[in-house]
Assembly symmetry: D2
Homo-oligomer: 408 residues x 4
């Protein structure tokens, strides 16, 4: 195996699984390695160090191995600067572009490591060598000629190390999706975490699906908003329309319970609710005109939090507030999640995955769904910081509202 | 189609779907029918009447059609007495035995209709012609020579008519398994129903699985027992062992949360808990010896409610209290559910289906599981009286305890 | 109850459950009824007739009851013409607009019933009185001043009657989502139905999610397209990108199997695949430039079938072929499903529901997903013509390809 | 932390995750450790060695840590013999008994390591010091006075090391439950593994639930039995009764498909099928009397494979062949799985978990269920040798029969 690169691993590389994952990755991808040096800390708090030589059968294999090792936290030993090439056309990248992770990332420019701003999963790094600046940019927004980082040299990633001394829920339940765990305790922990996030001046993001309204949990979410516990609400047309329907006709609950038939009865209210808001000109206008006087949307507008409703092809209507172009919607969502400290993702896979993709790895995320498949998908993208709860969205919100003392 | 029988349908045969289901059944099974007479009530409260002639291509087809129509509530027009034959050997029936439903059933003896006692799904009717008594009996318990009702003549079944004027939950949500409904309201309704059942002097049956303990909902169930809201607790070895482990080691919660690994750690406590009770001689002995001092099992023994632990092949140990022969366990469960007014089935499919099979159709059942497949299976066996809730067993019990004012 | 309207019911109103559903609906919504006349056919093939008087406590209640009864197939007895009002502004409707079902619908103009074109769920009816034409139009595309049908008078809907004599799968399994049924037989029936649809000159629509590619079922779908069994393929960015990745790198399968980790390894190929197509200018360009030479997208382009890729907020990239505005995407999908005879919806909830909403009720739909919750959601929107299969998308496609003799 | 014990770790302790899991376990359980010596192999094939000092705050904590480390493969450094105490009464153990894992285990007697026979999860080790024999024994079968191993000294466990060079499916997919993987390839691998197991003279165990019959996959399983690919079939009353019903009435398929209603129609056949076998005296007698002439049970009896039907409280009847005492059933199952090389567990959680508990860790197991929750539960008990497939039991068996060339 003639293609060779040396890497360093530092930190809690054994109990954070960095070393074994490195070995796994190299061998899973067909490569081999030699251990050049290894120092294991004598005590659990001592950092360790390893120096490995990676070998591969081709340049492509070596590149793929390094790609993956960098996610884990390996630092390429060679000390060259980051390389870049101009974007060949608007919205497209050089073929060997470096695709980011959602971890803190640095690039080496003139021998100096500079941080990459706006980091998120799977974006390109645009380099401004003169200003010594680097930032993450989604492929679609790259302009022809911008300098794009390519290859792996001169890029390093800082993995989140697993912390043992942090609180209960977030440190230990990260990979866990079972419904057979004591969730009440976890919800208390989430409540405490929300308070910490607010105290740190960071933002609480809620991503929500229409089940929040169907199940009668709207009052709990509305109370959380009113009490100032929510800084941004991300969702789609459905949650907004269902909420408006409940507010306008007072029947969402009555009708759902009585007919148990989402198609009959409720359906007409559904379309009439949409039409009412379209006639008014939008949600804010409906609030201002006294048409919409309660519910989640009302509270979000009254509290003036960031409200992003992103369009989807299954939307009825949609409401005038819905952003129908998905690229524009993504950019608006990106702005709304700036400075996020925690993200609660409740009962929606589409919006949750979309939001999750935009969050840096250090943002704690809580995915709540009664469907284990959905929660697993969300958690798979995860970091050490994700809690996946297989539980009932309605009862989750009722308990959380109680834990935070905002009533239900 | 030369094989012919006439039937009558009476009552709310149109809005209770009896008439259309009759038509469906006849045609699905390959038969045909003529409408001889039909009188539809002019108002929704007027009963209707229909007189049909059923035609089939064979005697077997006719028998199958009538079998199925009797479940719906059809009365065979011919007015012969019930026929019977002696059981050919212990534990076996005449080939053409009548297999019951779980609905109120009568047999005609000497021109007179007499009720069948101990009715449940799929049992034989043993006839004591001299004493004019009839009772349901599971096949395995029939003795050679007992008179067993055969064929369909002289048997009639009273279907539960759908009632519109009853309370919310039980009348309308019967076929509903969705998690996308407001469950808090349904739980309030269940609480009210439990109070009604107690006030009528009937019994509340709880069938529970080990998830109640894993999830930390044991305290809520214990509180319900202590407050007198549970008359019989049916389960298996697992719920009892997990409960004992939590009581003895105080760690079920701590350990589960910390390791998130049911196999490691907890496992040793699990086996030690079983051994402790085996050494003591049983759960009651462990309570009397001061070894077991809290938890669901402790409260059940203190309150002296019916506690039936039925064995299964996946049991570890098992505890001495577990009935290892499944036929004996079934009979003990049958006794425990006598005079039941409501049955809550939480987080266990095996015990829930077994119990459901033993209950007359009029007993209201609430099946709670986070897995829709399980709840659907339970509800499929159902009657108009079943609520199926796809929700979290833990949060369900916490909410129910709150609704009934027994703390959590 | 002073608000009164008379209705007629005709056809197989008892065994198609039209009569009992009518009774149910009236009472569920708080109304009452009198049976003025009822004639039940003496034999199962005889049509029946009923004439009812509906009573309600308010005008709104009466309107809601009639709304719902029209879905079932009730014809309002009064013989007035359809009423209309001008749309008050672009993209909004008069508050009392008539919201359609997906059933064949007629409106009465100058005493004559004329059919409504472009019918689908929840659209408005635009009336051109001069040309005596009516068509369905989504709210968002209505222009100020267009005449919109309002109220219920002069509108009638033709329910699909349940047919007993049709083939196995489509007539009887419509409400069925269980995995515990013999699915091989149903797949054979679906194969036969696809052949019938093609023979009738109608179109076969496939709506597909990325799991088709992950699971290695792409070859089966590609074979179906090559053999001419697919007329339109609807999906999103994900199915296309995964397919391109598999075609370009030949590794999607190898990598997935080896690492079992969708994040590592595959991820970089994923972004490189997107970039490659963006550099080429699009999927068709990539085929023409010899870059893309196999797979589902390749076959779809070679066969020149309708290919609609609709955007969503979770898209990476996206490919240049993806329609990023969801309203434009919806319109493109509407065109692609014209003259549909059958729609197969495989492994995607978002695109399946969106497509399902656009299909007239008579189009047979087959929803395939391993997740019962998804299949249930799709089937709930359904008609008598929907099969819901809880099964494995991969094995479904392999079996279907075998049934249709196109290899796997 | 004054309670101290030293341990050794040997083998591929880094890439098999033994070292990091050791660190994790110690810290999760509240202890601490010092690294006394560590030698990491320079190449991936070199074994490594570690010598650690474990510290704990109490004797109980130390015992729990060692309990858990032994499962991972730690060897306690102290070289004392195994300790034992007499069982205090029939069916109960000394409180500090050693509870086994399902891994190969040895105990030290007079300075010599001897293997423990009949090893399975969670049993006691009975020591016959004179004969130098040790065997695993379930708690319930221990007799008063037998010498039972206690504590951790003188016990060692050999973990299964993860092998990289073995075949595809079994080495890499062990923790994987997703339906979004190419399962056809895995089924081919399972077929190849079955052939290897047979070639090695080991046995193929099938554990099956009733869905195999409902779904029409019985013919595939029957063909596998007929071709000699199944050595033992474990199940319950339900699979046998459904199979008999299908064989006797030829209608299970027809009826299920036509009515889609398991309760109506099929139910009477169900009870009649049970009664027929009870009248005949059992399944074998029914075959000999020419009553049962096809199906899974017929083939199992004809091929004279081990057939174990274990009772459960939900059984109807049951058939005379069903073992109603669960402890007797467990012992019979233990005998049937002797010398197992592979176990296929299809569509049944109860029997699969029960069987899984009895298998040594080296037996490869394949758990197949469409419900991810079930498959996850099975896989959680797992070893490196378990494949969990979230797929359709019917299509799985059809594909497997095709792969093994036995028709479908």
């Amino acid at each position: 195996m003639p293609y060779v690169e040396e890497i360093y691993l530092r930190g809690h590389i054994i109990d954070s699984l960095i070393l074994p994952r490195t070995f796994d990755t190299v061998m899973d991808l067909g490569g081999d390695f030699d251990v050049l040096e290894i120092n294991v800390g004598k005590h659990k708090d001592d950092p360790s160090f390893a120096h490995l030589r990676i070998r591969a059968e081709s340049d492509a294999m070596l590149a793929e191995i390094l790609d993956n090792l960098m996610v884990i936290g390996a630092e390429v030993a060679s000390t060259a600067d980051a390389q870049s090439k101009p974007a060949p056309k608007d919205g497209a990248l050089p073929p060997d572009f470096y695709s980011t992770t959602n971890l803190p990332t640095e690039v080496r420019v003139d021998g100096e490591w500079i941080p990459v701003a706006d980091i998120e999963m799977d974006v390109a790094i645009v380099l401004d060598r003169e200003r010594r600046r680097a930032k993450g940019l989604p492929m679609a927004f790259v302009s022809a000629g911008e300098q794009i980082v390519v290859g792996h040299e001169g890029v390093r990633v800082h993995p989140l190390e697993r912390s043992r001394d942090t609180e209960l829920g977030f440190s230990f339940m990260n990979s866990d999706v079972s419904s057979e765990k004591p969730k009440r305790l976890v919800i208390e922990e989430i409540g405490a975490e929300i308070k910490r996030v607010k105290a740190e001046g960071k933002r609480v993001i809620v991503v929500g699906g229409p089940a929040i309204i169907h199940t009668g949990a709207a009052a709990a979410l509305a109370a959380l908003i009113r009490a100032g516990y929510v800084d941004a609400l991300l969702g789609g047309n459905a949650i907004a329309v269902h909420d408006v329907e409940a507010a306008l006709y007072g029947t969402s609950l009555g009708v759902n319970l009585k007919t148990a038939a989402p198609v009959e009865g409720g359906h007409h209210h559904h379309m009439r609710a949409i039409n009412t808001i379209r006639l008014a000109g939008g949600l804010r206008e409906a609030v201002e005109q006294g048409i919409l006087t309660e519910g989640v949307m009302y509270e979000a507008i009254k509290a003036d939090i960031d409200l992003v409703l992103a369009g989807s092809i299954r939307d009825d209507g949609p409401l005038p507030d819905v952003i129908t172009d998905v690229l524009v919607a993504q950019q608006t969502m990106r702005e709304a999640v700036q400075n996020a400290g925690i993200a609660l993702m409740i009962g929606t896979m589409l919006h949750s995955i979309a939001t999750g993709n935009m969050l840096p790895a250090h943002v704690r995320t809580v995915a709540v769904d009664i469907n284990p498949a959905m929660v697993t998908k969300l958690a798979d993208r995860g970091s050490w910081q994700a809690i996946a709860l297989v539980t009932d969205a309605e009862l989750f919100l009722l308990e959380l509202a109680e834990v935070l003392g905002v009533g239900r």
